[in-house]
């Protein structure tokens, strides 16, 4: 079948091809660059979103943490270390680790509060569990008749306070 002269001329005419090819290459390059930048931004945004999710989980865990100090008693004083015995109860829905103890002599305000790290004792409570715990702290100048304020700090920054008379 013979082609029309117009069609034959169109097939033979190479003018305008370079512009077309250049445009296609340019579009491909732009798409490639855009895709890379978009992918990079997407990855970074994902990282940030993960960080936000983790921090929200931290807050949720902290809010779910509930440490109760029950039946706190003490012995010692007047030159001897104060021995505090109490029942710790995890009333929340997450495990608790008690990391530090603060003991303040409430009777003699001039005696500064003393603290002790509990990391080595590994005081960990599972949700709903309770345990009897004994802490031995040296409070210089404290008498055996003094009353104390016991503060236990958890690894999530929460505090539980008990008054010992």
């Amino acid at each position: 079948m013979a082609h029309s002269p117009h069609h034959s001329r169109l097939m033979r005419d190479r003018r305008g091809y370079s512009a077309l090819i250049a445009t296609i290459i340019m579009v491909l390059v732009v798409m490639f660059l855009f895709y890379n930048i978009y992918l990079f931004k997407l990855n970074r945004d994902n990282d940030l979103q993960n960080a936000v999710s983790r921090s929200q989980q931290l807050d949720a865990d902290r809010a779910a943490e509930s440490l109760k100090i029950q039946s706190a008693t003490k012995t010692g004083g007047s030159g001897f270390p104060i021995v505090v015995t109490c029942i710790l109860k995890d009333d929340g829905s997450v495990p608790i680790q008690v990391v530090r103890l603060w003991l303040k002599d409430s009777t003699t305000s001039s005696i500064t509060a003393v603290n002790a790290s509990l990391l080595s004792q590994n005081v960990v409570l599972q949700p709903g569990a309770s345990k009897i715990q004994t802490f031995t702290v040296t409070v210089p100048g404290a008498l055996s008749s003094d009353s104390f304020t016991l503060t236990l700090v958890t690894s999530r920054g929460n505090s539980a306070v008990a008054f010992i008379y």
Partner: protein
């Protein structure tokens, strides 16, 4: 084919070849086109490499800036400070804190104190963080699960009552606590 005829044909070919090579060597037509094409190609290549390098450098800078900004944002989001124990005696406020977040090196930019009506009282910049147990200075901020304290001397001295304290970290996070003075 006779022998002398073959010889003459070969010599003719050689003569023609020599003439062709001579023509090619001394004919200067189209040399300028070749030279200009080479120069143009070299120029385009040089420009292309220069622009590529420039764009690559800018891309690197943008990448680094964006990544750093996002990393800092992520670290700031995960910063958490808890107040362990606050003591005020002899006009010295001792604030014991714990880093319970998942960001390392939490540093304190400033500390603000408000009264019970949330009215601003005073501001203290860059208090020295110290280890609770060893009293050693913590130079690069609180690590994860790290505990530390700082001391400030409020001016004017705090009266009796309830006060609020706000810690502003270098990453821009704020953490609020309260304490009562005797």
């Amino acid at each position: 084919m006779p022998k002398h005829k073959k010889k003459s044909t070969i010599s003719q070919y050689a003569l023609s070849g020599k003439r062709h090579v001579r023509n090619l060597l001394f004919d200067k037509k189209a040399v300028s086109v070749v030279v200009s094409t080479i120069v143009l190609t070299a120029g385009v290549l040089a420009m292309g490499i220069a622009i590529l390098y420039w764009a690559y450098s800018w891309g690197n800078i943008a990448n680094h800036t964006y990544s750093t900004a996002e990393e800092n944002s992520a670290k700031a989001v995960q910063e958490r400070l808890g107040f362990e124990y606050i003591d005020y005696s002899g006009n010295t406020l001792t604030v014991n804190i714990i880093n319970w977040g998942t960001s390392n090196n939490v540093t304190i930019a400033s500390v603000r104190i408000y009264n019970s009506a949330h009215q601003y009282l005073s501001n203290y910049t860059r208090p020295t963080l110290r280890n609770i147990t060893t009293n050693a200075v913590i130079p690069f901020g609180l690590p994860m699960t790290g505990e530390g304290y700082f001391r400030i001397t409020p001016a004017p001295a705090l009266g009796s009552g309830l006060f609020y304290i706000q810690i502003v970290t270098d990453r821009g996070r704020t953490f609020d606590g309260s304490f009562a003075t005797p």
